[in-house]
Subunit: 333 residues, 2 copies
Amino acid sequence: MTTIRDVAARAGVSVATVSRVLNGSGYVGKDTEIRVKKAIQELNYRPNTVARSLANRKTGTIAVILPDIMNPFFSELARAVEDTARDGGFTVIFCNSDDLGTREQHYIEVLRQKYIDGIIFASNSMGEDDIVYMNENRIPIVVLDRAPGKSGCTVIRSQNAAGAVMAVRHLMETGCRKIAHIAGPGELITAQERLRGYRKAVKGFTWFDESLIVPGHFSIRGGERAVSGLLERHPDVDGIFAGNDLMAIGALKALQRMGRKIPRDISLCGFDGVEMSEWTEPELTTIAQPIYEMGRKAATHLIARIRGKAVKEDILELDVRLVERNSTRRRKN
Amino acid sequence: MTTIRDVAARAGVSVATVSRVLNGSGYVGKDTEIRVKKAIQELNYRPNTVARSLANRKTGTIAVILPDIMNPFFSELARAVEDTARDGGFTVIFCNSDDLGTREQHYIEVLRQKYIDGIIFASNSMGEDDIVYMNENRIPIVVLDRAPGKSGCTVIRSQNAAGAVMAVRHLMETGCRKIAHIAGPGELITAQERLRGYRKAVKGFTWFDESLIVPGHFSIRGGERAVSGLLERHPDVDGIFAGNDLMAIGALKALQRMGRKIPRDISLCGFDGVEMSEWTEPELTTIAQPIYEMGRKAATHLIARIRGKAVKEDILELDVRLVERNSTRRRKN
DNA sequence: GTGAAAGCGCTAACAC
DNA sequence: GTGTTAGCGCTTTCAC
């Protein structure tokens, strides 16, 4: 293991000088710089990041806490975060919380001890007090999908309610007369907002009934389960807006097994726009969030904060868009 | 930020003693231990992991280098690794290589500088020399899906060739008379082995022809593309063995769009057993690898090596199994 | 049993 | 411009 001292010796200078050329800080004579670089080259010297971190309290590492990397939404998000982090010279640690509070606490503690430079919270049960804790410890954070909070941190969200309205409107415009909603878990703000959008869009229609809202789990199984009960109560449902794509895919499967043709008998619209929504047959109409973009923005903002750039502690609300595919009927022109 | 010195002061002992109780190393009087613990408690002291790492050259961090976290095979693998690492008190960094050699080199260098404790290589273009390099730097590694190598490191693999044979046999047993293979990229050992298995299984059958082997890309698109050319050349194909599940799903989509009924007209068998293979309609028959298990084993072995346990530098070859679902016809009993 | 002190490898005042 | 040196916070000999 060659150290900065070895390089200094070989170049006939002090460690301070080597450190200077390494970091491009302070003044270094042109010729000495060359000597040092040569020595570095010859010794194939690589600075020890840990020592560096200890000295200047920066680890060049950020973390992303998410419910489950196997969920395609989060793997796309993670991918975006890593790509962006890499470009910025950062490395990323990932943590699967399964939305377990205890696990999140565990990670927060471990990451703090590791002098992590910043954290992206995409895990939903992350509480207000956690944010306060991070602030106290001066660890920059970016939070996804949270209510416009008071606490000082960037929040990245998308237009869940507006998207839900778009979904329902689209279903109506393509001929649906009775539209159900498979809702995500009530604790999650995204689920709440999408439900709110659904309610807003169906308000006033005589066919609407509370029992058209069925609870799901933001998972394939959740969508599958929701469907059977729904069709028993409302055999005449001809449109379903699922709270996310996984549930929509589950619903699609279940409906197909029950012999319903999609979209002939029932139209189906998801939410999220995960890549997988193109892989079903028929491909899924969905309200797409700019997932990769969200991850990129989250990482960019976090890094800006880490670098001490004055970032207004703001809410970034990204647009969603309707992606018309074949699980809903074509608009009549 | 409270340090070990603060704790020492408060407990009226030296930092060495505090360190001892922290690590449970050396002798510490029962009563002093209690005093120290009390001080730790009261100050809510948490040791600084970076300083610790510098002192003892262990970071408690491992890395996993994989092609793309968005690929469901790798996200399941990553999940397994993280779960296992967490249990062992480790934290995990993930790196998307896109199978780019330059990117892999970059990561290897960065990770080395970070004093990472060990690396799991699931990125396929990782070369023999990289392994040698890691050995030289005494960084324990575990490699996935590589040929039984000479170099000293654990290799985790599954029975690709045998699995391919199972796939083809299954297709034949369920009535297929002409079976094609959509192969993965030739550089990848897994693709090579599965192709070898296919060849072995179809050898001697008069219907076999080299043009029944079509190249794909281990991606959905790869499967989609492969199908059209194949059916032009061989309209009478009635069975397809795809080199992985993604390609099988792509093939399924393409076939369904072309109006072919699966499995009535054509049977389809994939490889990998990613969770997603249950999400299609019909659900995919596939040769399942124990993906989670592979990740778990990889992490377990790596950690054992890190801890200096004498691990025989061995090859772990895991079993695959046929998962019969509805993209192939039922066996006639 | 416990403490003093020398590192681990690097950065950043401060002095020259 | 360059060198000296005191940390960063912890571990670990080696004395006592």
